[in-house]
Symmetry: none
Subunit: 194 residues, 4 copies
DNA sequence: TATGAATGAGTCTTCATTCAT
DNA sequence: CATGAATGAAGACTCATTCAT
């Protein structure tokens, strides 16, 4: 790894949480220099512009979140278990295991849908990938005989996703862990009844 | 109504959709003058500052959304019918009947939770009011014998809310009406099975 | 007195102390409306512009100060007594009997000498009048045999004035009454030795 | 000396006289960019804000004045001579050797006493330092046998100061050198009679 | 005469970006 | 590759002034 790559990685790591907390418009280059301890020139030496950093930061946050889910899912053998993992992660820690600032897809979706097409596209792809991941698990479950074969996998997948994202939003807004726990209980019931 | 009140109302009406689309940080005073055709001085003559406009714009958007729900609910007699209304509104028009920019609670929640305490508080209250509205409908349904008396009304209410907000977010992000329709189908099933 | 004259007088009275405290550039029209309880339109109905108010306010402050000196001087019969009056006034109350904000001549001189020719001219005239008043007292004293006839009245008059203005400035700046008392003691000695 | 330090110094040098003539409130950032030929961004890159420039400009003007006095005093051997220096400086050039705009202590005292606490404090300290300098000279003179030992050094020091500041104010206001000459003649007499 | 809403040039300040070193 | 000084457009906000009512 070249020095440039190392610095680039360092900048992304350090700035990812700010973008995920303050949003793209709310994050200034001064924020970036403060949190990295680097100069503006250094950031512009490694990235084309603020957009470029934001995009990489989004990817980093997404990867962080995906790694969390992937590693937890790996511990489960059954497909239902893999689905239930999400309720456990979000319920136990009330979302605190997510990247700082919460779900990057949710954050980016809401801020950037009308203002930042590149980020919007990334978030959209991430969301659809997530949905497809659920579809994959459901199909595997059908194959394995865990689930009945006449499921509407698309509908179930997108419903789970909506519940999760809605729960994360409500949890951040209300600062009350009970809400996310109740929703996750509903999700658990939903998954168990599939 | 004084001229000041009229201008104030005019400014709020005109700017509400910008704040709901671009967010607080993403909306500039130039945006506000452009969309209203007024000068900065005029805006500052009617509002204390940008914050003040944003707060009123949020209230306006919220009221717009609440009026939509309230008027549709009034057409339904049964409590279940009142709950199902949301699936119809969001499904039929794919959210296009919402204020321009989407659900102001969702938008404000995501942008302002870490940056704008006043707006966050307003969004939080609006969300809890909405939840309590659901709880009220559920209790009325229990009273009327529509629903079984051993429901966890809090859980059901917050779950419906999470599904709705999640659906709105997904709909805006993916520009694909199928997703919200599927989620609303799940919500319909959920409500009908109560 | 017409209503216009009454309102004009009211505005001057109320605003004089702000101009004398914050200075011309530091006083805004909002300050003027706040302290008078009137509207901007009302102020512009009675004065041509901010300058006009400032000029009248200066004259008012000046008159206030002159009245204080004149009435005190009237109580003294001897010319030396009339001169000593100033030391008493400034020493006893440490300047608190002056118009709010201090000596308007001093304030206007320092702020407006390079920026506001009209006010500067007014302050200059007031200062020279004051000096001439001293000269007059000194001449009367010579006539009355109180003072020797070979006094340099111009020099004495302007020296007294410099001591007084210097004392007022030092008093305001240091918030320490001892300084003005010591200077007034020196002035008393100076006058008594004439 | 870094480039930043050089630019900072350049800005201070160039802007000091504006602040000393127009005052803090009367000096705008446009004034500062015009006189320096720099951009606003450049000024804000070197100073925290306008306040910061004003404070440094005051210090610079003060230093300029103090250097003038110090270098002239150094040429005198006797303590009386050191005191008389001030009459010479102010009398000969009628104040034209002072920083452009006049005595920064006087200017700042009058403008900032009610509006700018930081500048007021700086001016206050400068004035007391000056007074203490006079006290020091007087004590040295007593030690050296030049002056009688029963002097009220505080009173003499503050009286000299008041005369000087009063003279500077009168000179600027009246544009008539005779006045300052007469006052300085009185000061000379006063010092010689100590 | 008094009101108060509107103006637009002005205020101070921060922004993302560039470039010589 | 990194620095840090400079840019100038844009940011939010205040100003003195005007004018229809």
């Amino acid at each position: 790894m070249s020095k440039a790559d190392k610095t680039k990685g360092y900048i992304i790591e350090k700035t990812a949480s700010i973008f995920n907390t303050k949003g793209y418009a709310g994050t200034s280059l001064n924020d970036l220099t403060e949190v990295t301890g680097l100069t503006k020139g250094s950031i512009y030496g490694n990235f084309k512009n603020k957009d470029d950093v934001a995009v990489e930061a989004f990817k980093y946050n997404l990867q962080l979140m995906n790694q969390l889910f992937t590693s937890e899912k790996a511990k489960e053998e059954s497909c239902r278990g893999k689905l239930l993992i999400y309720t456990k992660i979000l319920c136990d820690s009330s979302g605190s295991k997510l990247p700082i600032g919460g779900c990057p897809i949710l954050n980016t979706a809401v801020e950037s849908d009308d203002t930042h097409p590149v980020l919007k596209e990334l978030a959209k792809k991430a969301l659809l990938n997530w949905k497809n991941d659920f579809v994959g698990i459901l199909n595997a479950g059908i194959q394995a005989g865990e689930f009945s074969s006449d499921l509407n996998t698309e509908q179930i997948a997108i419903t789970i996703l909506a519940l999760i994202e809605g729960a994360i939003m409500i949890n951040k807004l209300t600062d009350n862990n009970n809400h996310i726990r109740l929703i996750m209980q509903s999700l658990r019931d939903y998954i168990n009844q599939i």
